[in-house]
C-alpha cells in the first residue's frame, strides 16, 4: 500500500452510502420540486403557499446536505461548522427582514407595554 493510499484509508473512516441511496434521494428531490411547482400554480393553495414552499424547500436542503454532502455519515464536527454558519445566516436574514418591516413601523408590543408600565399616561 502506498503512503498516499494509507493516508486516504486513514481518513476514509466514515462509510458513504451506495448508488441506490443516491438515486432514491434524487427521486425524492424530483418529487419535492414537482410539489413546489404545483403549490405555485394551484390557486387554492395560495393562503398556505409560503409555509408549504418553505417546508418543501427545507426538505430538499436537508436531503442534499445530509446525503449528498454526507453530513449524515461524517463527523459531527462538520455538521457543527455548517450548522452554526446556517444559524448566523438565518438570524441575519430574518433580522434584516424584520428591521426593514415590522420593527421599524409597528409598535405592536411597545404600546401595550407602555400602558402597563405607565398607567397614568
Amino acid at each position: 500500500m502506498t503512503a498516499e493510499a494509507a493516508v486516504h484509508e486513514q481518513f476514509e473512516q466514515h462509510v458513504h452510502p451506495g448508488a441506490s441511496v443516491y438515486v432514491t434521494v434524487a427521486a425524492f428531490l424530483v418529487v419535492l420540486t414537482a410539489l413546489e411547482i404545483t403549490v405555485f400554480y394551484v390557486q387554492a393553495l395560495a393562503p398556505v403557499m409560503i409555509p408549504l414552499l418553505l417546508i418543501l424547500s427545507a426538505a430538499k436542503f436537508v436531503l442534499v446536505a445530509g446525503f449528498y454532502m454526507h453530513l449524515r455519515y461524517d463527523s459531527y464536527v462538520l455538521t457543527s461548522i455548517f450548522g452554526f454558519a446556517l444559524v448566523i445566516a438565518a438570524v441575519l436574514l430574518i433580522s434584516l427582514l424584520l428591521l426593514f418591516t415590522y420593527l421599524s413601523h409597528h409598535l405592536w408590543f411597545a404600546v401595550p407595554l407602555a400602558r402597563i408600565l405607565l398607567p397614568g399616561h
Binding site: 502506498t2 503512503a3 498516499e4 493516508v7 486516504h8 486513514q10 481518513f11 476514509e12 458513504h16 448508488a19 443516491y22 434524487a26 428531490l29 424530483v30 420540486t33 413546489e36 411547482i37 403549490v39 405555485f40 403557499m49 409560503i50 414552499l53 418543501l56 424547500s57 430538499k60 436542503f61 442534499v64 446536505a65 446525503f67 449528498y68 454532502m69 454526507h70 461524517d74 463527523s75 464536527v77 462538520l78 461548522i81 455548517f82 452554526f84 454558519a85 446556517l86 448566523i88 445566516a89 438565518a90 438570524v91 441575519l92 436574514l93 434584516l96 427582514l97 424584520l98 428591521l99 426593514f100 418591516t101 415590522y102 420593527l103 421599524s104 409597528h106 409598535l107 405592536w108 408590543f109
Partner: protein
C-alpha cells in the same frame, strides 16, 4: 506521498537564517508572521503620524494647518489604517501566525501556501488603499473609516479615492477570510496528540473563536462593498433613496461586520493577556472553562448587537430595545474575563516585568472603555453621545487602552521567542509609564469634550466654545504617546543590534512555544509533542501541575533524542505573483485601463493554476504526522472547505436578504412577474440531477471504477453547462422584456443574486473539468477520492443555494417584499 527521512542537524538552524530572496517565497508560518509584523509596524508609524496631524490641527481654534478636505482624508485613513493595516495584522497576521502552530505543537499551519498568499494579498490591499496619492483625480479616501452611504456615492464623492477604498477593502477582506479559514482549520485538525479543546492555551482558544467571527462577519461587509462598487461603476442604486432604496442598508451591512470586528480585534488581545498574566503570577489561569465559554458567548452575542451603532437612525423602539438588551448582555461574559484575570493575579507570586505592567494596564484601561460602552447601550444616553467626542474616547479606551496595551504586553513577552534577543526592561518600563500618561491625557478629556457637545470629525472649532484647553492638553499628551512609541522602536533596534541573547524559556512560562529554542528552528519541533494536561510545558518542567493532578507531558524536544522524519513544504513564488496580479486587476478597474485588467487577470489565472498543481504534497504529510494523531481525525482540506462553505452561506444570506427587502420597493420596471417558472423549473431539475451525477462519480472513484468516474464527471460538467446556458437565455429574455441590470431595485438585486450564483456554478464547472482532465490522465485513482469529494461538496453547496433561490426568488415572486 511518503515523507522522506531527513537527517536532523546537530544544531538546528533558526527560521531566520536564509538569504533575503527566501523571504519572498517563504511559506513558513513564522516568517509569514514576521512579514506581517514588519508591515504592520510600518503602517503603525503612518497611522501614528496621521493621528498627530489630527491633534496638531485641533490644537487651537480656527486652525488652518490642514484644510477641511485634507483633515477628512487624514481621519479616514487613520481609522482605516489602524484597524485594517495595524491592529488586525499584528494580532492575526503576526501573533496568531507565529504562535498558534507553536502553541498547539504543529510544524506549520494547515495551508501554508494560502497563508503566504494571505500576507501578499494583505500587502497588495494596503498598497492599493494608498494608491490614490499617485493619481491626479485620486487623493485619499475621505468618507470616514465606515464610509457611510450615500456620501460615498459618485455624485457626492467623485474622483477615485472611494474606488481605491472600496476595492482596497475588498482585497483586504479576501486576505482576512483566507487567514480565518487557515487558523480555524489548523486549530481544529492539527493539535498535538492529547491536546483536547479544554487543554488548549487560551490564546489558541481566542484565535479559534476569532476565526469563526471572521468567516461569518466579513461576508456582509463584502456584499456591502460590492453594492457600493456597482453603484459607482455600473449605475445601480443600492443606497439611493431616489430609486426607492435606503442608505441605511449600508449601515446595517457595515455594522453587521463592524461590531463583530470589534471582537475580532479584542478577543486575540484577551487571549494574549490570558497567557501573560498566569506566567507572571506563577499561577494557572483562574476559571479556565469559564474563560473559554465566555469567549464563545461574546462571539455569539456580537452578531446581535450591531444596531447599537445605529440608534440615531430611527430603527424604532422595538429594535432599539432589542439591541440595547443584547448590548448590555455582552457585558456579562466580558465581566467574567476581567474578574478571572484579577483572580489569577490575586495571591500570585508576581514578577513585575514590562509585559506584566502592560497586562495590568490593559485591565484598568479596558474596564474604563467597557464601562463607557455600557452607557452607549442605553438608548437615551447614546442619542446624546452619538457623533460626539465621547464616542471617540470610548472606542479608543477599548482599542488602544484595551487592544494596543495587550499588543504591547505581548510584544515584550514574545519578542525573545521571535528574535532570540531580550529587550531592555528599563526602557520598556519607561515606555509603559509614558504610554499610560500619554494615552489617558489624550483620550480621557474627550469624555468631557463630548459631553460638552464637541462633535467628532470636525476639522476646527470656534474660540468661544470652551474646548480649547482640553484640546491643547490632548495634543501635548498625544506627542508624549508618540514619544513612548519612539522608545519602543529604539528598544527594538538596540535589541536586534546587541541585545542579550534570549534563552528558550526566559520567563519560566507555561506553554509549548517556550519548550523550543529562541528563535525556533524552521520545523518548530524535532518530535511532535504529546500533551496530557493544560499548561503542557509547565507540567513537563515541574512534573505535578498546579491543577493538583499529575500532569506530566512528554512535550518538547529532547536535544539528542531520536527524531522522526520531517517533511516541510517547499517555498513558492506563486503567492506573491498572484497578489501582484490581483493588484494590477484592481488598479486597472479603478483607472479603467482594460489592458491592465487583462494583464492582471492572466497573471492571476496562471498563478492560481500554478498553486493548484504545486499544492498537494504537504497536506498529505500533515495527515500523517499531526492531524491523525492529535486533531480529532478530520481531514484538514475537508474541514477547510466546510468552513469556506459556512462563510459562503452568510454571503448568500446577505444577498437574499437584500433582494427580499428591496424587491417591492422598485419604482417602475416590470417587476417579478416576468420571471419564467417553466424555464427555471427545468434549470432546477438539471442542477439537482447534476448533484446525483456528482455523488455517482464519487462512488465510482471510491470503487476504483475509472470508466464510470469519467462518465459521471462528464455528465455533471454537461449538466452544469446546460444550467449556465439556461441562465444566459433567461437573462437575455428578461432584457428583451425591459428588465435590464439597472432598471430598478428589483432587477439589480435579482441579477446580482442570481448572477453570483451563476458565477459559483461556473467555478464548479471549471473545477470539475480539471478533475475530468486529471481523470483522463489516469491521475485520479481510488486513493484520491477525497479530491472528488471536495469538488462534490462545493457543487452540492451551489445546488442547495439554488434550492433556496428557486423558492424565495422565483416561486415566491408574488409575495410582497419588505
Amino acid at each position: 506521498m511518503a515523507a522522506q527521512p531527513k537527517a536532523i542537524p546537530a544544531e538546528y538552524p533558526s527560521y531566520l537564517k536564509g538569504d533575503p530572496i527566501s523571504w519572498l517565497n517563504t511559506i513558513d508560518h513564522k516568517r509569514v508572521g514576521v512579514l506581517y509584523g514588519v508591515s504592520a509596524l510600518f503602517f503603525m508609524m503612518l497611522g501614528g503620524i496621521e493621528a498627530l496631524l489630527i491633534r496638531i490641527q485641533l490644537f487651537e481654534p480656527n486652525n488652518t494647518f490642514l484644510s477641511a478636505h485634507v483633515y477628512n482624508q487624514v481621519f479616514t485613513m487613520h481609522g482605516t489604517t489602524m484597524i485594517f493595516l495595524v491592529v488586525m495584522p499584528l494580532l492575526l497576521g503576526f501573533a496568531a501566525n507565529f504562535l498558534v502552530p507553536l502553541q498547539i505543537g504543529a510544524r506549520d499551519v494547515a495551508f501554508p501556501r494560502l497563508n503566504a498568499l494571505s500576507f501578499w494579498i494583505f500587502l497588495s490591499g494596503a498598497v492599493f488603499l494608498h494608491m490614490g496619492w499617485f493619481w491626479h483625480h485620486g487623493g485619499l479616501p475621505d468618507a470616514g473609516w465606515f464610509g457611510y452611504a450615500n456620501l460615498t456615492e459618485r455624485q457626492y464623492t467623485p474622483g477615485m479615492a472611494i474606488d481605491f477604498w472600496d476595492i482596497g477593502l475588498l482585497i483586504l477582506g479576501v486576505s482576512t477570510v483566507m487567514t480565518g479559514l487557515n487558523f480555524f482549520t489548523t486549530i481544529v485538525t492539527m493539535r498535538a496528540p492529547g491536546m483536547t479543546y479544554m487543554r488548549m492555551p487560551m490564546f489558541v482558544w481566542s484565535i479559534l473563536v476569532t476565526s469563526i467571527l471572521i468567516l461569518l462577519a466579513f461576508p456582509p461587509l463584502t456584499v456591502g462593498l460590492i453594492f457600493l462598487f456597482m453603484d459607482r461603476f455600473f449605475g445601480t442604486h443600492y443606497y439611493q433613496a431616489v430609486a426607492g432604496a435606503t442608505p441605511i442598508l449600508w449601515q446595517h451591512l457595515f455594522w453587521l461586520f463592524g461590531h463583530p470586528e470589534v471582537y475580532i480585534m479584542a478577543l486575540p488581545a484577551f487571549g494574549m493577556i490570558s497567557e501573560i498574566i498566569p506566567t507572571f503570577s506563577r499561577k494557572p489561569l483562574f476559571g479556565y472553562p469559564m474563560m473559554a465559554y465566555s469567549l464563545i458567548l461574546i462571539a455569539f452575542l456580537s452578531y446581535g448587537v450591531w444596531g447599537h451603532h445605529m440608534f440615531a437612525t430611527g430603527m424604532g423602539p422595538v429594535a432599539d430595545a432589542t439591541f440595547a438588551i443584547t448590548s448590555m448582555l455582552i457585558a456579562i461574559p466580558t465581566g467574567i474575563k476581567i474578574f478571572s484575570w484579577i483572580a489569577t493575579v490575586w495571591g500570585g507570586s508576581l514578577k513585575m516585568t514590562t509585559a506584566f505592567y502592560f497586562a495590568l494596564g490593559f485591565i484598568v484601561e479596558f474596564t474604563i472603555g467597557g464601562l463607557s460602552g455600557i452607557m452607549h447601550a442605553a438608548v437615551p444616553i447614546d442619542l446624546q453621545q452619538t457623533d460626539s467626542y465621547f464616542v471617540v474616547a470610548h472606542f479608543h479606551y477599548v482599542l488602544f487602552g484595551g487592544v494596543m496595551f495587550a499588543i504591547l504586553g505581548a510584544f515584550y513577552y514574545w519578542w525573545p521567542k521571535v528574535t532570540g534577543r531580550m529587550l531592555s526592561e528599563k526602557l520598556g518600563k519607561v515606555q509603559f509609564w509614558l504610554t499610560v500618561i500619554g494615552f489617558n491625557g489624550t483620550f480621557f478629556p474627550m469624555h468631557f469634550l463630548g459631553t460638552w457637545g464637541m462633535p467628532r470629525r470636525i476639522y476646527t472649532y470656534g474660540s468661544g466654545m470652551g474646548w480649547t484647553f482640553w484640546n491643547q492638553f490632548e495634543t501635548v499628551s498625544a506627542f508624549i504617546l508618540g514619544f513612548a512609541f519612539l522608545l519602543m522602536f529604539i528598544n527594538m533596534l538596540r535589541s536586534l543590534r546587541d541585545g542579550e541573547i534570549a534563552p528558550a524559556d526566559p520567563w519560566d512560562a507555561r506553554t509549548l512555544e517556550w519548550s523550543i529554542p529562541s528563535p525556533p528552528p524552521a520545523f518548530n519541533f524535532v518530535t511532535v509533542p504529546s500533551v496530557s494536561g493544560r499548561d503542557a510545558f509547565w507540567a513537563r518542567k515541574y512534573g505535578t501541575g498546579s491543577h493538583g493532578a499529575a500532569a506530566v507531558a512528554s512535550a518538547g524536544d529532547p536535544p539528542n533524542g531520536e527524531a522522526e522524519a520531517i517533511h516541510m513544504p517547499e517555498p513558492s513564488f506563486f503567492p506573491i505573483v498572484l497578489a501582484a496580479g490581483l493588484l494590477l486587476c484592481g488598479l486597472g478597474v479603478v483607472v479603467a485601463w482594460w489592458r491592465l485588467i487583462m494583464a492582471g487577470g492572466v497573471i492571476l489565472f496562471l498563478s492560481i493554476i500554478g498553486m493548484a498543481f504545486q499544492y498537494p504534497t504537504f497536506g498529505q504529510h500533515t495527515h500523517e504526522t499531526e492531524a491523525a494523531s492529535g486533531g480529532g481525525g478530520e481531514d484538514l482540506r475537508k474541514v477547510g472547505l466546510w468552513a469556506f462553505i459556512g462563510s459562503e452561506s452568510v454571503f448568500f444570506a446577505t444577498l437574499i436578504a437584500t433582494f427580499m427587502v428591496y424587491k417591492s420597493r422598485s419604482m417602475g420596471g416590470p417587476g417579478a412577474d416576468v420571471l419564467e417558472i417553466p424555464l427555471t423549473s427545468f434549470s432546477t431539475f438539471i442542477l439537482l440531477m447534476s448533484s446525483l451525477l456528482m455523488v455517482l462519480a464519487l462512488a465510482a472513484t471510491q470503487r476504483g471504477d475509472k470508466t464510470w468516474q469519467r462518465v459521471w464527471l462528464a455528465g455533471t460538467v454537461l449538466f452544469g453547462l446546460i444550467f449556465l446556458g439556461d441562465q444566459a437565455y433567461e437573462f437575455t429574455s428578461l432584457y428583451h422584456h425591459g428588465l435590464g441590470f439597472t432598471t430598478d431595485l428589483f432587477s439589480q438585486c435579482f441579477f446580482t443574486l442570481v448572477g453570483f450564483h451563476g458565477f459559483h456554478v461556473f467555478i464548479g464547472v471549471v473545477w470539475l473539468s480539471v478533475l475530468l482532465v486529471v481523470s483522463f490522465m489516469d491521475r485520479l485513482p481510488k486513493s484520491r477520492a477525497l479530491s472528488v469529494e471536495l469538488a462534490g461538496l462545493y457543487w452540492h453547496f451551489v445546488d442547495i443555494v439554488w434550492v433556496v433561490i428557486f423558492t424565495l426568488v422565483y416561486l415566491m415572486q408574488k409575495v410582497k417584499g419588505a
